[in-house]
Subunit: 577 residues, 2 copies
């Protein structure tokens, strides 16, 4: 009889415990050990910003499983406070250091799992040795921040990095009464996730909650007070007072052990694995934040550390290290984040990512209601789709707003997993009843706008293009086809702007010269597109509309919120595309 | 130059106006006319139950567009209160009756669109001539019911039919203070949408709100009082007092005009159309409730009248009647309905539908939280998946509960549109953050349970099978592996039930005989499956678990709600599958 396999898992957070538990369910006989450097296993690290805010008050909610669960239920040994010093691949052993006793020992393995996670980047600022500078990746980080906040030492916080964690913590800090400044090196918030015009809407939401944004600025250093506590953050353009600094500038995969053991490291600096999640050593598997993934759209290697991916990795590894055969198809870079009253979600390639990848793309900006507008409580969302121009294969999507956006991005994630086109998306039989959706989901409309653009029926300029034309004094007409009442609530302020209610357009076509450029807009582009088609039909050769119209317009405009949210126009904005 | 096309659309509700508006956007020159028998066009009929309840108070919210919108904006003529008496396909003309003036006229067409909708079935009960008997398909129906309710004539209502409209109106009636009985000929609520064990959860929700359900009973007649007002409803088993009766027993497609014109009618009694939505006459298209659709899973013809489908049809027809070429891929029978505090959603084939279609299926019942349970407010959902046993191709899904279910069904609808398997579903990169989801969506878990079942690792009995075994006195052990505290909150009452907390199972295996059948259960089946694997590993040959455990158990059980909703066990129920 074959002797029982000896499985060792390094890392006890997400991927590691999942791999171990799955291995146990696949193989009742194996010896399984989890080695974890920290005091806990199974920390719910994605909940940490909510522990800072107090939304999740109890620390024990964030420790999902205790070591005795693994022993009693799963017959898995857990060694906490234990560091792996090295891997001897020849001997199939690990050298361990018990951090409590400082004893060194050796542990044998037949199959090894690296789930070593990642470490927050610090831009060297933690080397300053000053107090009050934090990263956030463990419960102890959150506890330290909570402790500082409870002592009321400071009211001014600077967050470096406007990514997912930076924005989640920004909200938490505001809820704790801090004055918050977010500094971001890129020119927009969520720069790796959103295109500029979508990020601008998120930025407005942050600013409306009192957060100060410094975009396109690098942090160059920190200065402390006499107690060696952080006092200010230096940026390219000046100094920011701060008694609390959070560094949220991404994470780098923990690959030290793997590198020292001679395992292949990929171009993204994550551990290289095949689609079985096997490293360059067939007896060693790796998953979670420490590995690189394949992007399902580009097929390129990417580093996208996410708890959702780590869990999927864990199950696949647990299957494969016990003789099974499962594969991981890759990631889509899907993400969702709560930013105060906005739900911000995205998947696949942004327009800028698609262009960087050399793709010729079509995009659309389509505002919509989360459910039937005649059913109470409907909140707006804004959909951006990115598709390959030729075949309209969907490449990515971004959905932002106070309404339901995660559902739309999950539908897109599913569609992208199967290489869907806009034609496919337009006719998916999504669930409809007034409390849940419109007869046509905003995604259906967006897909149809892409189809209209590809056929040439619809021609749009994006907000940046319209603003540039307006500001550069180009000779064109920016035609506001809303009602006079809507015009009064606010409109795009430019010398080229002219009001002309849609219902008068057919009878007043004589006011325009046939050759000139006319760009129409309304509230959501339904009427603007209709206006463009009327102008087309009347022989005007250069009619376009402003993509997404006022609802997608991310720039300042007098009384803008009222115009964006106005219900006046709903009756005219129903069916589209 | 070719003369402008003359397009006539019969029917002004959903498909018709959409087809007309799309036709206008595709062809600025065509003459387009909508002919509608009623006084309004573009009624939001899906909102009618919410107008009865008062959730949507203003009638004008339900009239989406006025005829002058069509004229002013779209240059489309709308003839309301106008009946089409006949179609002369040879002459390409319609005979019209103006219901206001009673004048008859003739209208020519080049292309004709039939969007004639459907008519509620009445089981002959409306022929009684009694007052107080209603169907619900138009605003005037809702107004008549509101008028009756405002006069406080009756407190007792009977709804015949427990389909979508029946249940929506049941909630509306309860909110208006009525005593409501729902009579359904099938043995469960939502019989064409849900399997029995899922429908049972919806039934519990209805009963908890005071609604009386009479299932498996046909209505045989109605009796009136001296004022010719309905007084009672007769069923097979007795009489029900009622001063208000709603007939919600489905709708039949309005095919009279089509039939008289000699157009082909399909096996489901809907108008037969090809995938261009063209009838047997190439100049006549049809869409919306009056046509039959192709089911994307079975490829069979089905009658599934839905506003969402009607809108998609409209766009395709608008394209095709103006020289374009678009096709409709069919429907999935997707539906969602609010039933008080429950969100009830489904897609594709139910288990019973799949078995009727001759398919060999695997199913699973998987409870889950709508988002991370450590983030406040997570509500439960229950997922049922149906898949082809051989290749695990997904055939359908049902998701029910107080938590978010429409998102999951929309993901499934998208997956089903591409022939996804459980393997595909398990690794889709869905959006995760604690306020929105778990690191693994309940659908991921459900897909993995199907995979575990197919591999033979997981073996489950469904609730009906377990209850039958328990009631028939079969010799098996029903092993409750929850904690003693959970056991105290309630357990499945059967002579075969035994408590044995999971953490003691490994040390107490000696208490069981190797050959006997052991069925384990817990709260959500995570621990029950683990227990089954422990028993497997110890050599027990007939261990299974109760699919979905107590959270999916639809039958009475002492203190059941507390056991189902208990948070005690959450820490043991995280990772699964």
């Amino acid at each position: 009889m074959k002797k029982a396999d000896n499985i060792v898992v390094i890392g006890g957070m997400a991927c590691g415990p999942k791999a171990a538990a799955r291995a146990r369910r696949c193989d009742p006989k194996a010896r399984i050990t989890i080695v974890e450097e920290g005091a806990n296993v199974s920390e719910a690290t994605c909940g940490l910003p909510y522990h800072i805010s107090g939304v999740i008050e109890k620390q024990r909610e964030l420790v999902r499983r205790k070591p005795d669960f693994f022993k009693d239920i799963l017959d898995i040994d857990v060694l906490t406070r234990t560091r792996v010093l090295s891997i001897d691949r020849q001997a199939h052993t690990l050298e361990l250091l018990n951090l409590k006793t400082e004893q060194v020992s050796t542990l044998a393995y037949d199959r090894l799992v690296l789930a070593t996670g990642s470490t927050p980047a610090t831009l060297g600022l933690k080397d300053s040795g000053l107090g009050g500078i934090f990263t956030l990746s463990k419960i102890e980080d959150a506890l330290a921040i909570r402790d500082l906040l409870s002592r009321n030492r400071t009211r001014k916080a600077v967050i470096v990095g406007a990514g997912l964690i930076g924005l989640e913590v920004a909200e938490a800090f505001v809820s704790r009464g801090l004055e918050v400044t977010v500094v971001e090196a890129f020119d927009r918030v969520l720069p790796t996730l959103l295109d500029s015009e979508m990020a601008a809407h998120v930025a407005r939401q942050l600013q409306s909650k009192g957060i100060k944004l410094l975009l396109g600025q690098r942090v160059s250093g920190v200065d402390g007070d006499r107690q060696e506590w952080v006092q200010q953050v230096r940026t390219e353009s000046g100094k920011l007072e701060a008694g609390l600094v959070l560094l949220a500038v991404g994470a780098r995969p923990n690959t030290g052990l793997a590198q020292e053991a001679g395992l292949a490291i990929g171009p993204t600096r994550g551990i290289s694995v095949n689609h079985y999640l096997q490293t360059s050593d067939p007896d060693i598997y790796a998953g979670g934040d420490c590995v690189e993934n394949v992007h399902r759209i580009t097929q390129r290697k990417v580093l996208v550390p996410m708890g959702s991916t780590a869990n999927k990795h864990g199950r696949i590894i647990g299957t494969n290290i016990t003789g099974g055969c499962d594969t991981f198809p890759g990631v889509l870079g899907t993400a969702v984040v709560k930013v105060f009253d906005y739900n911000v979600a995205r998947v696949g390639l942004s327009e800028s990512q698609a262009r960087e990848a050399g793709l010729d793309v079509l995009t659309c900006l389509v505002p919509g209601d989360e459910h039937a507008d005649y059913y109470p409580g409907a909140r707006q969302i804004l959909v951006k789709l990115v598709a390959d121009r030729d075949g309209l294969r969907l490449l990515g999507g971004q959905v932002v707003g106070p309404g339901e956006t995660a559902k739309r991005v999950d539908v897109l994630a599913t569609a992208l997993s199967f290489g869907a086109t806009a034609d496919d998306l337009a006719n998916i039989d999504l669930a409809y009843a007034p409390p849940y959706n419109n007869a046509m989901d905003p995604l259906h409309h967006a897909a149809n706008v892409l189809r209209n653009k590809q056929s040439g029926d619809a021609r749009a300029l994006n907000p940046a293009e319209v603003r540039e034309r307006a500001q550069s004094g180009v000779d064109f007409i920016l035609l506001d086809v809303r009602t006079p009442e809507e015009w009064e609530t606010g409109h795009i302020e430019a010398p080229q702007t002219r009001p002309l209610p849609l219902k008068e357009l057919r009878s007043r076509l004589g006011e325009f010269q046939a050759g000139g450029e006319i760009v129409t807009y309304c509230k959501t582009s339904v009427r603007a597109y209709q206006a463009q088609r009327i102008l087309d039909g009347a022989g005007f050769e250069d009619a376009k509309f402003l993509d997404g119209s006022i609802s997608a317009w991310p720039y300042d405009m007098p009384d803008k919120e009222e115009a964006r949210d106005s219900k006046l126009a709903n009756i005219d904005e129903g069916a589209t595309a």
